[in-house]
């Protein structure tokens, strides 16, 4: 390694190991065209999905695009408030900036009729009882707390209906529906 020559006058000083230089930057984001429509209706307790112009696949939440084809999606469809758990994680690690009792269950929720899942919270369910394929329904915030935010649904809870089989749950369900083929 390179030899560093330090003047004798400062040779015996304690080495600086770190300096603190706090950075603060503010961003004002725009949600985008599709998310705006979605958030507006979400504030009315409606869940919208995007319909793919190519094959009619339903994408929730809408991002205005079908990532398979790189095409814009401007058609929306209203979704039911029920679905199932595609897969899940029992988390014992806090999320920075969010108060959640540990452990909590984060799950890929596939709404009935949707072709992709989204990550959300599952509660009213002991972690050891959560299952892939478990049927769930939305638990909304009280009406006076609902607004144009992504966080109107408090969590999803089990409905008690029979589970979907593993091969039809999550992304595997898409293959079953499209091809009758369970080998994702």
């Amino acid at each position: 390694m390179t030899e560093i020559q330090i003047p004798s006058s400062i040779r015996n000083l304690e080495q600086v190991q770190s300096v603190r230089t706090p950075i603060r930057m503010e961003y004002t984001f725009t949600p985008g065209v599709a998310a705006q429509t979605y958030l507006r209706e979400f504030g009315n307790k409606k869940i919208l999905g995007n319909v793919s112009p190519v094959d009619g696949a339903i994408l929730v939440p809408p991002r205005g695009a079908d990532p398979r084809y790189g095409v814009l999606c401007d058609e929306f469809v209203e979704m039911p408030h029920t679905g199932h758990v595609g897969s899940f994680c029992v988390t014992n690690v806090p999320i920075p900036g969010r108060e959640l009792e540990l452990p909590y269950i984060s799950a890929w929720i596939f709404l009935d009729g949707a072709d992709i899942g989204f990550l959300n919270l599952v509660a009213e369910c002991p972690p050891e009882e959560c299952r892939i394929g478990m049927r769930v329904e939305a638990v909304w915030k009280p009406d006076d707390e609902i607004g144009m935010t992504a966080e109107n649904i408090l969590y999803w809870r089990p409905t008690g209906e029979p589970d979907l089989p593993f091969d039809e749950a999550g992304v595997r369900g898409w293959h079953v529906r499209k091809h009758g083929d369970s080998d994702a």
Partner: protein, 347 residues
């Protein structure tokens, strides 16, 4: 001084480009890029599976999100999977990485894109975080002030004059006349608003093709006859603020001086940079042809460099010019520079 090394290289051309710039865009990056990418694919009749390589440039700090480019990849439609890469740099360097890929012989066509949305954040603060984090960034100098530092240096050395700045502003179109220029108050003394960039959200998408394919896809391909990029020291105290050695070296390597230039599309978002770079490259301060879309009027960080290449290609497609220099820069005070020479002749 430096030999140009591009003669033995495989011929690659820009065959299609599409861009959009607006002061503040409500679309997400994905919504912004889809129409641009779709357009260049339609123009060339290529679908994504026929494109050999895809490369993009963008910045997480600009987007205010880690891994921001991951979401934007959706705009390409990467299903089935694609051979793809990303630089945390202006898209001009994504084009360079792609050009290198062509030289390996592995591909015949490529998609290059880049984008930037400065509008959500405070760009002056964002750019300060690009500076040396130990000695400079903690002082939060903003981009205009740093450019003013250089302008002051050049004025006091008599290397430029206030009239030069005014003329450049008129040529760039930020003011109509010298009089209007001198009526403006100082923004970052000695620079006025007309010397400094107006930022814009935007993006650009481009298709490149190799010899043999390019002629099929485009009536008059814009051939890359030379491309090179270099970086200078970061530290203002070390650099000679009157010179841009990296720009000169990249220009030599890219063959800029091998023949005359009809049009120079320079990524200079301050008048002072425009003048200094022109001097360094021996380009006239009063060129007969000027950029139709000078970056001072619409600076889209991370895309402006690639936009210059798109503008240069457009000038060739429309037969307005035959040999065009496109330039991209990055870092404070044009620290890093890329030179790309485009020609209507394959060479």
């Amino acid at each position: 001084m430096y030999e140009s090394m591009v003669t033995a290289m495989r011929k690659v051309a820009v065959v299609a480009a599409s861009s959009r710039q607006e002061e503040k865009m409500l679309d997400t990056e994905v919504e912004m890029m889809i129409p641009l990418i779709s357009k260049v694919r339609e123009e060339t009749g290529l679908n994504q599976t026929e494109i050999g390589f895809t490369c993009s440039g963008s910045s997480d700090f600009l987007a205010g999100q880690a891994f921001s480019f991951v979401m934007t990849l959706d705009a390409v439609g990467p299903v089935p999977p694609i051979s793809e890469s990303h630089v945390e740099m202006d898209g001009a360097w994504a084009l360079y990485e792609t050009w290198v890929k062509f030289q390996m012989g592995a591909i015949d066509t490529a998609l290059v894109y880049s984008y930037g949305k400065p509008s959500p954040g405070s760009l002056q603060d964002v750019l300060s975080t690009q500076l040396d984090p130990y000695y400079i960034a903690p002082l939060w100098p903003d981009a205009h002030s740093i450019a003013a530092l250089q302008a002051r240096h050049l004025l006091e050395q008599d290397e430029i004059s206030h009239e030069d700045l005014a003329n450049c502003a008129v040529r760039a179109g930020t003011v109509q006349s010298q009089e209007e220029y001198f009526d403006q108050p100082m923004l970052a003394d000695p620079l006025r608003q007309a010397d400094c960039p107006t930022y814009a959200d935007g993006g650009v998408a481009m298709i490149l093709a190799a010899e043999g394919k390019a002629e099929e896809l485009c009536e008059r391909p814009a051939w890359i006859t030379g491309i090179d990029h270099r970086i200078d020291s970061h530290h203002f105290g070390v650099r000679d603020l009157s010179a841009i050695p990296s720009a000169k070296k990249a220009a030599s390597k890219a063959g800029v001086y091998d023949a005359g230039i009809d049009l120079a599309e320079l990524h200079t978002s301050y008048t002072v940079h425009d003048i200094l770079l022109r001097k360094e490259l021996n380009l006239p301060l009063d060129p007969t042809r000027s950029s139709k879309n000078h970056p001072i009027k619409a600076e889209t960080l991370m895309a402006s460099g690639l936009l210059r290449i798109a503008e240069a290609a457009r000038a060739i497609w429309e037969q307005e010019a035959n040999r065009v220099l496109a330039h991209a820069t990055s870092g404070p005070l044009m620290q890093q520079n890329l030179m790309c020479v485009l020609s209507g002749e394959k060479g």
